[in-house]
């Protein structure tokens, strides 16, 4: 790859890559330490709609990962950045646990709608309020557009169907901020001084992590942990730069071949 430059930054997915729910991927803490022993900059990037950075950090600390809050970039951070950039006052249809990530943002007299996974807000009167704001020209910002997710009591609707409902009713398109959107990856690098060609992404979701990162010019490594299913690497074209067993193997490859 002629256009590649020396590696300066590594983006790492959290759930499914560093840990699976409340268990660390074996060897992941040591691998992260080795990566930090080099000159590369490390950022942790994740699609989350209900866990604030503080929640994520607490879990990672409990699992004995050495990570600080300003190294984490989530889809909630991306939404907040967009709100600040547009200088709007959002109606926040997000889980209460995500609210700390919007601390300090003005939300009275709203002129924008931010929508995450918030079943408790997805009832008619609230969605109708959001609908009327959108008709008045408020932008619609979606944390992501997942169709559904798995709950203990079965499948449950994600934010995507409700975003789609509002898009249809108002004949507008939402700005989606999470992975695999290009802006998500570019925003994650903002302030690092690194270009996408100097960065690599490690994750367990072939489309959202690897495909998204490769689309903006990064390299992508797919790990076979978390949600990985056999033959996932065939889902994108061009294929992942590398598919390997787990995060420690990915780090080993970087140390051996990319630095």
């Amino acid at each position: 790859m002629a256009a590649r430059r020396a590696l300066k930054a590594v983006l790492v997915d959290l759930n499914g890559t560093l840990h699976i729910e409340d268990a660390a991927v074996p060897g992941a803490q040591e691998a992260l330490k080795r990566l930090r022993g080099t000159s590369v900059l490390v950022r942790f990037v994740t699609n989350t709609t209900k866990e604030s950075k503080q929640d994520l950090l607490e879990r990672l600390k409990k699992l004995e990962f050495d990570i600080s809050e300003d190294e984490i970039f989530t889809s909630l951070t991306a939404a907040r950045n967009l709100v600040e950039q547009k200088q709007v006052r959002p109606m926040l249809l997000v889980d209460d646990r995500a609210l700390p990530d919007f601390k300090g943002i003005q939300t009275s007299d709203p002129n924008a709608v931010v929508i995450g996974l918030a079943p408790e807000h997805f009832h008619y009167q609230i969605l109708n309020q959001a609908f009327r704001l959108l008709l008045d020209g408020a932008p619609l910002i979606a944390i992501h557009k997942a169709r559904y997710y798995k709950r203990k009591d079965g499948l449950a609707l994600g934010p995507g169907p409700f975003v789609t409902a509002l898009e249809y009713a108002t004949d507008t398109k939402a700005t989606v901020v999470g992975k695999p959107e290009k802006t998500f990856f570019l925003e994650a690098l903002r302030g690092t001084g690194c270009e996408p060609e100097e960065a690599i992404m490690i994750g367990d979701d072939c489309r959202d992590d690897v495909g998204g990162a490769q689309t903006v010019g990064m390299l992508g490594i797919l790990v076979k942990t978390g949600k990985y299913r056999a033959a996932d690497e065939e889902k994108i074209n061009p294929p992942p730069y590398l598919t390997c067993e787990s995060f420690p193997h990915a780090v080993e490859h970087i140390l051996q071949h990319l630095l």
Partner: protein, 270 residues
């Protein structure tokens, strides 16, 4: 305007939308739109045939007609084409047993329908019934089916209540379509079958009929695709941007039903 003579020539029958044309619904029933009670009466006294064609799916046809009569309109149940009775016919013909996501006000229309062990989902304008729980239940029923069938009474984006614009069933139809990766079957405007059955009951050919509605896509676009003419009234859910709609152009825009009837009585059937 001379052009009206040309645009309305040969019209022998009129299909009238109800919500947003005759009345605006809201808390405590609804209010008639100024001039509409008299306009309907004048139309019915003329040589033009008249029928009502509604996507109202929050109330049964009986309740809707009761409300209209209370507001002073001369209308009977037999003159109204509505989606719930049409859907019942389809359910029966196809042996479908629906899980109902509908407003309590329309439930009585489905009294004779078998809803045990559902093999399809039917949604209508459920209003506050569109809670996360209820929409999620409909989603779960669809996901359990080998061949998910979703029937939607209309596909409207929004409608007007006295308090303002309200999300209509179409938004929730799209939500379920997206969640399940399926396409709904629409019973009601703008489905051609629905317009055709209304035309048949009206008793005139499509090219002799005109639809009057407040929905640029559902009323105007739908009727035109069936070969009818269509006027949009600037009442109900009408928004000024409708007159610049990228895909649909009405055969005329009028301030309200009263103006439409003035023009029809002057120019139609000539």
């Amino acid at each position: 305007m001379d052009a009206w003579g040309k645009r309305l020539a040969g019209v022998r029958g009129v299909l009238l939308d109800i919500s947003g044309v005759l009345m605006d619904s809201g808390d405590g029933g609804g209010v008639p739109i100024a001039g509409s009670v008299e306009a309907v009466a004048r139309l019915k006294q003329s040589r033009l045939k008249v029928r009502f064609c509604t996507n109202e799916s929050q109330k049964s046809r009986g309740k809707l007609v009761g409300l209209l009569r209370q507001l002073g309109f001369d209308v009977s149940e037999g003159e109204v084409t509505a989606p719930a009775p049409a859907a019942c016919q389809i359910l029966k013909e196809r042996g479908l047993r629906p899980h109902l996501l509908v407003h309590d006000g329309v439930r009585s229309e489905f009294d004779q329908v078998d809803t045990s062990n559902p093999n399809c989902v039917l949604i209508a304008d459920a209003g506050d019934g569109f809670s996360y729980r209820n929409v999620n239940k409909a989603f779960q029923v669809l996901m359990e089916l080998e061949k998910p069938v979703l029937i939607s009474l209309g596909s409207g984006r929004y409608f007007k209540e006295t308090s303002g614009l309200m999300l209509d069933v179409g938004a929730y139809m799209k939500a379920l379509e997206y969640a399940c990766g399926i396409k709904a079957e629409v019973v009601g405007k703008p489905s051609p079958e629905f317009f055709k059955s209304a035309l048949q009951e009206l008793g005139v050919q499509a090219n002799q009929a005109i639809m009057i509605g407040d929905d640029i896509v559902g009323d105007v676009g739908g009727a035109q695709r069936c070969g009818m003419r269509a006027l949009q009234v600037r009442t109900g859910k009408f928004r000024p941007s409708d007159e610049r709609h990228p895909e649909v152009k009405a055969d005329g825009y009028v301030d309200n039903l009263a103006e439409a009837v003035d023009l029809l009585l002057q120019h139609a059937d000539k």
